[in-house]
């Protein structure tokens, strides 16, 4: 007898759950995107200084920009909470099996690292201008500490950036109930995407030329790694049994196919990679097109995966 399911009559119609889970709206992908960009900034800016040996004047306020962007992302996350008055509960405990708990504590550590990185990286004239503002005693203390511990602060910022970028992916990757998120690749994928989008934002801000050249090279490497990770994710799905096949199908012919391939892969990765290579190989003038496309692609990656993951449930496996 053919035992294929021909009809399921489901008596559950819970809002937000049925017929398809949509617990997380725009707030979560926006947060994951901004968290990724900030992770990228936290990795790239210190590494640029460690690599070139001197501080970037153009990027001196990037740590403050990162703090603002992260706060905007956390604001989006706050809006997503159904019981926002209980937000302090994140900081009354540490749950080692919960990526969200790790993330909450990483976010708290990020701010002092960014402030010390900013204070220690200020150009002399900026510092003297700021010293005319009220509260300069505190600023001077921050500058002294930031300068004295410069290398420690820079490496701590890189380490926290790696943690922040990876956790944004693992946040989804540990939700075993969602077939589309059942891949550990999401951790490194979101991290590398964060590095790429961070580089894109720095390129949009037009820093010094030698640093821009280095950033385009690093961005191109990140894009190549991202493409490889996406290929690994698809291979993992194809060998991942019925659940993996369903996850792959939503990106290969299913409802999320056009968004994933057009916005994420082609517009967000392949086209900017081509533009970057033309800039590097043929000395063509840099335009804003490549970094803008990388940012659109990074945001689209989060939106597509958050939506596709919620649509991919075990209920699809009869």
């Amino acid at each position: 007898m053919n035992t294929e399911v021909i009809e399921i009559l489901h008596g559950r119609t819970n809002p937000m759950i049925d017929p398809t889970l949509h617990a997380w709206g725009w707030e979560v992908p926006v947060y994951l995107f901004l968290g990724g960009v900030v992770a990228g900034l936290m990795i790239l800016v210190p590494l640029l200084e460690l690599r070139t040996g001197d501080k970037s004047r153009a990027f001196q306020h990037i740590p403050l920009l990162a703090a603002v962007l992260l706060s905007l992302g956390m604001g989006a996350l706050f809006l997503d909470l159904e019981h926002p008055l209980h937000v302090y509960r994140f900081y009354m405990t540490f749950q080692p099996t919960s990526p969200m708990s790790w993330g909450s504590w990483i976010l708290i550590l990020v701010y002092p690292a960014l402030v010390l990185g900013w204070a220690g990286g200020l150009a002399d004239e900026t510092r003297s201008w700021l010293s005319r503002l009220p509260g300069q005693g505190l600023l001077q203390q921050l500058v002294d500490l930031g300068l004295a511990q410069r290398r420690t602060v820079l490496w701590a910022t890189v380490a926290l950036g790696l943690g922040l970028g990876t956790y944004t992916g693992l946040l989804l990757g540990t939700m075993a109930a969602r077939l589309q998120w059942n891949t550990a690749v999401l951790g490194p994928l979101f991290l590398v995407s964060g590095v790429s989008t961070g580089a894109a934002l720095l390129l949009l801000l037009r820093g010094e030329k030698d640093r821009s050249h280095l950033l385009v090279r690093w961005d191109s490497m990140a894009i190549v790694v991202e493409l490889a990770l996406i290929a690994m994710m698809m291979i993992g799905f194809s060998t991942g049994g019925a659940g993996g096949h369903l996850a792959a199908a939503s990106l290969l012919g299913g409802p999320f196919t056009p968004w994933f391939w057009s916005l994420v892969v082609v517009a967000g990765l392949l086209v900017p990679l081509g533009l970057n290579l033309m800039e590097l190989r043929h000395r063509m003038a840099a335009t804003l097109a490549s970094p803008l496309l990388v940012l659109v692609g990074g945001l689209s990656l989060r939106f597509v995966l958050v939506a596709a993951g919620q649509a991919s449930s075990f209920a699809l496996l009869h």
């Binding site: 489901h10 819970n14 759950i17 617990a23 159904e82 969200m100 939700m175 919620q310």
Partner: protein, 186 residues
């Protein structure tokens, strides 16, 4: 069921006999009334699954709810400890600790949780407030065909232990690896 008397903590589980269930939804209504579930929401529900090819068809009716998994992913991902496994192996929610982040909802392979209209995440509790009084959960107590049984897995004489020993048993989505404690008898 009777109130726990042994010194070892009870390990509660539920069995659901899909051969006896007629899909009357008395379990659903009893749960809503007992637990003041907000209108439009439900902690338990009836699923009718029709398989085969006409005219050779089979129908299975199940009363489903939170599976109170041994390896509960909802508990693992909860960032505040609001979702926890109690001393009787049931999965519970501390409303005062819940932020409504919905990580547990995304992590549940059975989609058994929802956001209560008051902002916390809610689901089946196995009616532990009734169990503490020595009563069965509301759904079990009203089932007219006795397709639902509730009891202590550590007690070999409990109805669930006997049914699990005697009958062929399945669980929902064993591939999720959560080791559910809502057993379906077929």
């Amino acid at each position: 069921m009777s109130a726990p008397t042994s010194q070892a903590p009870s390990l509660y589980a539920m069995t659901m006999d899909s051969r006896k269930c007629v899909g009357c939804s008395a379990c659903v209504l009893a749960c809503r009334a007992e637990n003041a579930v907000p209108p439009g929401y439900t902690r338990d529900w009836v699923v009718k699954e029709i398989r085969g090819e006409f005219p050779v068809l089979s129908q299975v009716i199940r009363s489903e709810r939170c599976n109170h998994c041994v390896d509960a992913p909802c508990v693992a991902v909860c960032p505040t400890g609001a979702s926890f496994v109690d001393e009787h192996g049931t999965v519970q929610i501390d409303r005062d600790k819940c932020t409504g982040c919905k990580a547990c909802i995304a992590a549940c392979p059975y989609d058994a949780r929802y956001v209560h209209t008051d902002g916390f995440v809610d689901k089946c509790t196995f009616c532990m407030h009734r169990v503490a009084r020595g009563e069965d959960p509301a759904c079990v107590s009203v089932c007219p065909t006795e397709s639902l049984h509730f009891g202590d897995l550590n007690d070999p004489e409990s109805s669930v232990s006997r049914l699990l020993a005697e009958r062929k048993v399945t669980v929902l989505h064993p591939e999720a690896g959560t080791t559910p404690k809502l057993y379906f008898l077929s």
